[in-house]
């Protein structure tokens, strides 16, 4: 089947309504009440086209995306309280310069404000030990490249839904 990344299978109205309702959940309300940024998803990938593709998916689901080119930049962003409090989820590549995804996740999980924020790895790494390390550090899920755009939408929806529960 031929599909375009910008004309994906739309998430159902129930999916989107469910996600937006989560913004008013107990943890969400506490973290959104101080800024006008609204809920954001942090996208960490050294590839600008991958960041752009993931941003499109995030915005299709009704969220804002904030981008970091590598783990070091992601950690800088997460140390800014007005940004950190609005982060609903983190989507991160593994094979990056400066810090790998795993090294970055290890540091993110040490930040108290990020302890419960779901993290999904998007990577072409298929070695089981990479994924095992990710899960040991507390990632919620992973998505292996190459992926279909619809799969990306579904995975993002799932990690946000699991976070709300």
């Amino acid at each position: 089947m031929v599909t375009s990344p910008l004309s994906p299978k739309e998430p159902s109205p129930e999916d989107i309504a469910s996600l937006h309702l989560q913004e008013g959940s107990s943890s969400g309300t506490a973290r959104h009440s101080h800024t006008g940024n609204g809920p954001m998803i942090l996208v960490v990938d050294d590839s600008r086209v991958m960041r752009r593709l993931i941003r499109t998916a995030v915005e299709t689901l009704g969220f804002k995306a904030i981008e970091a080119e590598h783990g070091g930049q992601a950690l800088e962003l997460l140390h800014i309280p007005t940004i950190a409090q609005d982060i609903e989820a983190i989507i991160i590549d593994h094979n990056m310069p400066v810090k790998t995804g795993i090294e970055t996740i290890e540091l993110i999980k040490q930040l108290p404000a990020m302890a419960l924020v779901p993290i999904m790895m998007v990577t072409s790494e298929t070695e089981r030990d990479i994924m095992a390390k990710g899960f040991a550090l507390g990632i919620q899920d992973y998505l292996l490249k190459p992926f279909a755009y619809e799969e990306l939408l579904t995975k993002i929806t799932e990690i946000l839904t699991s976070h709300a529960h």
């Binding site: 990344p5 086209v49 593709l53 072409s124 298929t126 190459p146």
Partner: protein, 168 residues
Amino acid sequence: MMMTTSTQSQLDAGLVNAVMESVTSVFNNMLQVEPKLANVSAAINFTPSGDVSAIIGIMGQGGEGMMAISLDRKLANKLVARLLGVRESMVLNEDRNDGMGEIANMVCGKLKVYFSEKAEKAYKLSLPTVISGAGHEVSGLPRGIPYILLTIGVEEEQFHIQLCFRGQ
């Protein structure tokens, strides 16, 4: 997709099939196009073709090598536009180079699994390097060892994948 060229006996058919499976998976899933193997041949050294080459190194306990995707700028723009779901006119130079690096990275990611399973040893990939410009040259690559050259058709155009691997 099975390798069916006359060079089959001279080349590693398993490797060629692994490359095509990898390319097909990436192109089907992320670019929504169907690649077709047009030809397979052997070469001694890496020879860039077209305007853009995306190169990735593979290294591990079992050996080292590299894979390069070479193609014309027009086709590179078309593939990256497909990846992003935008018109070709919206693909900037940096998008093209970055996108081709990402495509090479995904193709090589699956190839790494092939090498790892075959040798039962772990391999790593380098970050992709993309070189562009008409008549561009690439230095520092392995020389004097056999390269496999795949010509792959996509819609009405073609691109090349060159691959070499030296076991330890």
